[in-house]
Symmetry: C2
Subunit: 219 residues, 2 copies
DNA sequence: ACAATTCGGTTGTTTTTACAACAGAAAGGA
DNA sequence: TCCTTTCTGTTGTAAAAACAACCGAATTGT
């Protein structure tokens, strides 16, 4: 697990905490590590969690397949991001989504009780982590609201514009790379893939944007 | 502000804290109170917040109007619920939504820094509140994901079923009262009001449900 | 009680989407 | 390299939603 300490150091959860302290906290927080091959499930819908999990290698999708097989991608988890935190509280009930590795991935689990209960021992930085946890959850929250913003748009075109322009803002560039192929983007925006593909090409023909694979340029 | 202490006591934020302690914390957390008439704005899009706010009287909508006047209702805040917490962190940026009173309302503001920074003085219950804050944010998070679940449905009918059946589950009854009129429900689910009204009547004629005003019975 | 406004339902038209089926290109594996 | 699979774009059709316009009922304010 030692090898991932430099990565943990750069996460929101451990912002402001040194590598030495993180190393010490790994024990205090009962950290456990696990790896998953592309396509494997980290968590499944219906499971009960009691840990906060941080991705240190690879990439994950938080998604949900409904009864008819329609997939909805809720969120993408990149390296350094945490997940599962919303289901780690005592009365939060079962997980409503699947968490699946979209490439070979490694995660580290932290016991949530141990994070929230400030220990009396050496971990001075514990309270920083609690604050960080709050900030990270705030951010996740805002991200979800932004996604609601995209999905509240009535047409596929508007959804695309809403998503791509926000992504351009976030990546601070007119040319962006998205973490989706076409099917995944459609599942993320909850639209039909072929209709979306069609709309994208129309937008390209109208000179609104250019794209090649998952690289888009807004004009 | 004293008169609202019994209400605060029943909130998620102050769960497990006695009235005496709450009373003491009001000062410690620099609580401030304000009231709004129906239709008035508590916060506006673009504002910067640094407090967590709890509704103690009335009802609020978290909503957003886009460029063309399409309204999207993100969330409903009932008595005892908190809001604004996702925008109270230092780097969270400006508020993306409006918060508007849908009836005469009263709120109490708490300075977020003071909540997160455990004071050395008498407030023993401070750390409980920090935990509560985490749990409350978790819950809000799950609520947003549930809303994404409704909005990810492709048809108006599916959106309605998704929303109403979740609400029936939450209210633990086949007969539920929703906090929306037709226009608001449409804005909440991001569909056209007349089309939705039409669909509701079709569903009623098919024997799927019954309704009268904002009271629905699922069959 | 009356006038004005809001609310909910209805209908017809236009636009958009979902769905299905297919084909060429690209990627991946043996 | 060849074969297989995945990915993306294209087209046509059927279904659904948005939009607009309207009406009667209910509600609100004076």
């Amino acid at each position: 697990m030692k090898k991932y300490i430099p990565i943990l150091r750069r996460t929101k959860l451990f912002a402001g905490v040194g590598e030495g302290e993180i190393s010490a906290m790994l024990g205090c927080l009962q950290a456990k590590q696990d790896s998953y091959k592309k396509g494997e499930y980290v968590f499944r819908q219906g499971e009960y969690l009691n840990n906060i999990t941080v991705l240190v290698e690879g990439s994950l999708h938080i998604q949900r397949d409904d009864y008819w097989g329609n997939r909805s991608i809720i969120n993408v988890i990149g390296i350094g991001e945490m997940f599962g935190e919303a289901y780690a509280a005592p009365d939060s009930g079962a997980l409503l989504n699947d968490v699946v590795a979209v490439e070979d991935s490694t995660v580290i689990f932290f016991d949530v009780k141990r994070i929230l209960t400030v220990c009396s021992s050496a971990c001075k930085f514990h309270s920083i982590v609690v604050q960080n946890l709050f900030f990270a959850m705030s951010e996740k929250n805002r991200k979800l609201v932004q996604k609601l913003g995209h999905m509240s748009k009535r047409s596929t075109r508007e959804k695309l514009i809403s998503y791509l322009s926000e992504e351009a803002k976030r990546q601070n560039s007119g040319t962006i790379t998205i973490p989706f192929n076409r099917q995944q983007l459609a599942d993320f925006l909850s639209v039909d893939r072929s209709a979306m593909s069609n709309e994208l090409c129309k937008m390209r023909d109208e000179g609104l944007l250019m794209f090649e694979k998952n690289k888009f340029t807004l004009l």
